[in-house]
Symmetry: C2
Subunit: 206 residues, 2 copies
Amino acid sequence: MASVFFDVGVSLDGFMAGANRRPANPLGDGGVALHEWVFRTAFFRERLGLPEAGERSDEDALVRRVFERAGAYVMGRRMFDEGEVGWPEAPPFRAPVFVLTHTPREPWVRKGGTTFHFVTEGADRALALAREAAQGRDVRVSGGADTIRQCIEAGWIDDFTLHVAPMLMGEGLRLFDALVPAALRAEPVAASHSRLATHLHYRVLR
Amino acid sequence: MASVFFDVGVSLDGFMAGANRRPANPLGDGGVALHEWVFRTAFFRERLGLPEAGERSDEDALVRRVFERAGAYVMGRRMFDEGEVGWPEAPPFRAPVFVLTHTPREPWVRKGGTTFHFVTEGADRALALAREAAQGRDVRVSGGADTIRQCIEAGWIDDFTLHVAPMLMGEGLRLFDALVPAALRAEPVAASHSRLATHLHYRVLR
């Protein structure tokens, strides 16, 4: 059966975003530096339509695999709102994205194969729709932190990857916050590093 | 010049110890599980004089290197107090240990080469004494978290290793807590994993 996973960047002190998050500063103070490694990869730059070619590297291959395994996405409303103004006309997903929201809205079809569907019936319904839409490929829980924690607590996550940037944020939005120990038991399955990040892949134990 | 380093176990959510720490429960609730990987290694079991041989593995070699590079230790008072009742007659350090304290005390000579020296003149003095005593080998800042943070903020750390156990603590004593981003910039230099932990080694950038 297809897997449900998340794949996020965090700081050494566990933050996904810095302080002072707002629409004009969605990753918070210092948050862009968390993702410096991914912005250098050829695959990610192509996906976002960024000028200047990126690097072909192990990290490039890693990012490519993450996007290629995902047949659909589940995303929180706040992450969508932040992305709506920032993503290019052809967003990087190129697959159906199911957005958790309380406000009904017609599907929003974008260039390149990305359609945002707005789900008001809860995260379990969004995940069911994403599983169906993924047609046998995996479902990525994009974020934000709240949505990921909700999926962890519900026991829906099969595996996950943390890309740990070698920096401190000090304050901001923590990924693993206020989760009880029983919410997650895992087993490391891979660990690699570059100058800009360590990449830790875990399988969730049931 | 010899290096100053720390080498600690943390949970996925960044805790060095769990909730409810007290002398009878020094690692806090669930804290022993953080260190399960090290208690399986042959070297560590021998150093602590534990019954039943441990495993010869990459992790065994890693622990051996950490102990062999350390020519002296700096340690906080609380960690010493907790260890004083728990360590065997021949503590695992087998080198001089400089304990930060406000209470003068004569050096405490233990079997196997470990002598605890009590330093009341502050962490910089303890570090200077440790550097001298290490005779060209490295100085390990053992802990606890407060002492490590103090050494990070002072800019004394050259490299560090995090052994990340694939579990959540939920609450307890965080390693990287309330540190401003400028306190630490680093570069990953190694990453490996077993079923029980990922081992991340960083070099501090000045």
